[in-house]
Symmetry: C2
Subunit: 212 residues, 2 copies
Amino acid sequence: MLELAILGLLQEAPMHGYELRKELTAKLGAIRAAISYGSLYPTLRRLQAAGWIAEAAETPATAEEVPALTSRRGRVVYKITAEGKERFAQLIAQAGPETYDDTGFGVHFAFFARTDQATRLRILEGRRRKIEERREGLRDVLGRAAERLDAYTLELQRHGLDACEREVRWLEELIANERSGRAPTVPQPGTAGGRRDNNSPPPPGETRNERP
Amino acid sequence: MLELAILGLLQEAPMHGYELRKELTAKLGAIRAAISYGSLYPTLRRLQAAGWIAEAAETPATAEEVPALTSRRGRVVYKITAEGKERFAQLIAQAGPETYDDTGFGVHFAFFARTDQATRLRILEGRRRKIEERREGLRDVLGRAAERLDAYTLELQRHGLDACEREVRWLEELIANERSGRAPTVPQPGTAGGRRDNNSPPPPGETRNERP
DNA sequence: GTGCGATGTATCGGTCCGATACATCGCGGC
DNA sequence: GCCGCGATGTATCGGACCGATACATCGCAC
């Protein structure tokens, strides 16, 4: 998952580790707390070894000398390679079972702007199926095994069941949008009107994963 | 976390691994998919080595002989020890930062029936604080960084924000319940009346972690 | 009698986390 | 003038947990 997220982000701009973590946190804030450096740096090393990313020269640009002298080992900026872009396209399109768990789905969804419509639909439906299964499991427990469990455990299940039902509805709307119209935004009927002027610029417009 | 969950479950009855996994899945179904055997068995070994749990003789009960002969190595039933109960009480009462992440909170909550009220309150409030922080982070991103992100990413954040707000409300109700009255069930105003005769038997009644 | 799904124990490699360490830079306070 | 401190920045280590895999037994349907 981290691999996919890094390749996706580096496609927008070259970055060094610290920056990458911040962007990752902003983009995936809804689904996970913050990527640990203990995962990030080893993964960067792995991706570099595989040839999917490469060190970009830390451009002094138009800077005068300041030409080292003190050994210089500051930030390491990475950029994605052509092979890396292919790898990203492959990862984003193929759907294993891990594509539908909480984290996997979140990461895939976060890069839907770089995913073609058929794949988007396939992933949304797979996720819906998975959540429906979880929902049925919870209903079973709440129905059949209710008297074996204490009130707190039951309350936890109820809250989980509610979250499942809500997510299924959300997915339904996204799927409907995907099939007919286009804009990824959901109307959100409950919470009054939009809080600002519901910013949906021209729909991201099939940004493809070909080379620019 | 797994350690805490196992200790908690074995306090209800001795069990073997397979059974433990099923119970774990039923009890924690709302917060995680299913515990892997790749975690479960090593953890059982670790707990046994530490003396928190012990192998219970696989009672043939009143069974006639069938006394081995074929080397016999079937299910291994574990039971909790006195030291294990102490360990459980210690783990359940102490709150590190991991107590408030999704999994940690879920496990603690699932054993609230074995937790004293002061600790319950502390954990609920800690969790609320953490979710409020996540919520603020998402609001920031949706407010300030909105134009830098594509429509799908924004929709993901919105959905996450909604989940945060919902969980905060849920926690508020639980906290209020905990402070004044007693029953852990939340009134749930939206979804009509209870689906069955809302089974809250005598409130779990401070089941303490002393020996029975 | 045979295959097949549920029950049951177990290991291995890999991903990711949390703690920790350490170095630099800019800025405000004394 | 200089000192601390928070932000920036790279890096490693042990441990928790997962997913795949292997293998053995039992009961039952076909």
